[in-house]
Amino acid sequence: MTEQPTALEKPPRKPVPLKAWLMQAALLLALLALLAWLAHNAQINLRERNMAAGFDFLFEDSAGFAIGEGWVPFGEDDTYFRAMLAGAANTLRVAVPALVFATLLGLGLGIAALAQNPLIRTLSRGVVDLVRNIPLLVQVLLIYIMMTEWLPDVEQALHIGGFYLSKGGLILPWGEVEETPFGVIGTHVLSTEWLSLVTSLTLYAGAFCAEIVRAGIQSVSRGQSEASHALSLTRWQTLRLVLIPQGLRVAIPPYTSLMLSTIKNSSLGVAIGYPDIVSVANTSMNQTGRAIECIAVIASVYLIINLVTAFIMARVNRRVAIKDR
């Protein structure tokens, strides 16, 4: 560091002059005033046009629509708040499995990209390049259309060892199964929408994860693998005991960003009819006309999920980061 000439010329840290403080304070005040003025304006405009405003509808009005699937039981008598809750749960229901699978896929693809076997290496690169360079929305739609066009009709579902697979999705063997004129329905179903959204998010995030893993491993200096070789560790042992533990430290910050963007990308589910928070809030917005409020709910849900994720990952990062010794 001391080689850089700028480091020598750098003056000692001086207290911030009063003028700069005043400028900052004035700017902050101006911004706050602007916000207050906009909020005030919105309020007047809403009142002028006799538009209802406020978040009271969340707790007072019953939503009256249905949500196709999810963890949170939801009936049409339940409030909008519960609908939003069910929507938020559905967002997690897609994001969490997608992240888990994407991480596993990314580890596999990332390690494969460094394999000695040229076939495996090229395959891994090919998959990563293909998936990474097609817009996610296109992939979501493509996988969904393939599933709904190619799988058998619900009435002719494939029945394999308790599982039923059809255009309606995958019925899991635990839980009850009922025959209806419209095919078999079960208590535990992974819908086609869920399956295609999780698949496409897994592929997409997995491809980016692979690059993060590869870069992390390659960032470990050559001397480390040469030293392990000298200690007669096998390639696999070198990877597992030397390269991955050190490489992952570098990989965690970009991996965190990937997690956050994957959570946000799950909102593309609206295009294929998956009832996540965006879909539910959109319906609520249309029924109540409270656009600002519903958008605020969507934003807060993503903000909360992502802040929690970022907080956890920051702690993880602090634990594994290279310590000065």
Partner: protein
Amino acid sequence: MKLAQTLLSGSLAAVALAASAPAMAGKVLDGVKQRDQLVCGVHTGRAGFAQADGSGNWSGLDVDFCRAVAAAVLGDANKVKFVPTSGQTRITALQSGEIDLLARNTTFNFTRDTSLGLMWAGVNFYDGQAFIVKKRPNLTSAKQLDKATICIDAGTSTERNLQDFARNNGLTFKTVVFDNAEGSKQAFTSGRCHAYTGDYTALAILRATDLPNPDDYELLPEIISKEPVGPAVRRGDEEWFTIVRWVLQAMQGAEEMGLTKANIDEKAAQSDDVAIKRFTGNGDDIGKSLGLDKQWAYRIVKQVGNYGESFARNLGDESPLKLDRGMNRLYTEGGLVYPLPLQ
């Protein structure tokens, strides 16, 4: 410092932008006249109501209504900018002042009229919610759809209607809600959904023009809701609201009086009927109280045609859709269209 300056100039620009916005909440008519163009929110593409052809020419019942307003207010039916809006963006587009008028199959109901800050100028089409299914033996009623999967478009009143229908009849449905009609259509035709619910007319048009084998599909007889759709405007400008309301009445009234695009000049010159004289601008002044000239109604019929002509051209006999006028006939012919007296 540099950052502070950038931020400051940025926020000043934002203030300037924000300050210019409320000006649009003023008199809509003045705004329309000033820009010499009507900005009309329509469907992104629904045959018969609003559809743009390959060269960008719009046609449809709602499009004709926009043109009629432009003919009345600006004197030229072509001075319209059509803004395609989705089921979700339409309300916001009108509330925010992005469009002057919304003519996009929008259902006129209590909640919307009382809490969205909009006013409906009337009803230009009477519709109802129905179901379309792939034909299957023994399926003759929507009440047999218990436990079926049903596709719906987001942002419509249909979601709630469906739930009410399910509850009243003790049925359970699994719903898949798409944010665009293309998505619902694909899911329905691929077999992901057993039924697709929406406005009867929209489904009939879908069946006639968009489905690969129309004979494989049928509409079930139940109409589960009332969907009176019509043009809406923002609250807070009664003058504009009144103009839009009377444009619709004039279009429908012209049909009742037998005034058509082809015969209006002749009738204007020859007829002694007081009502026709007034309508064509040769009698009492019907424009002054609206802030328009005497001939606004005449221009609507001359340039766009009456309601019946517009219906026939876009949805009825002269169109590929060949829809029956049903409830949308004049009251004199057993329908619900009852034009208010233009006196």
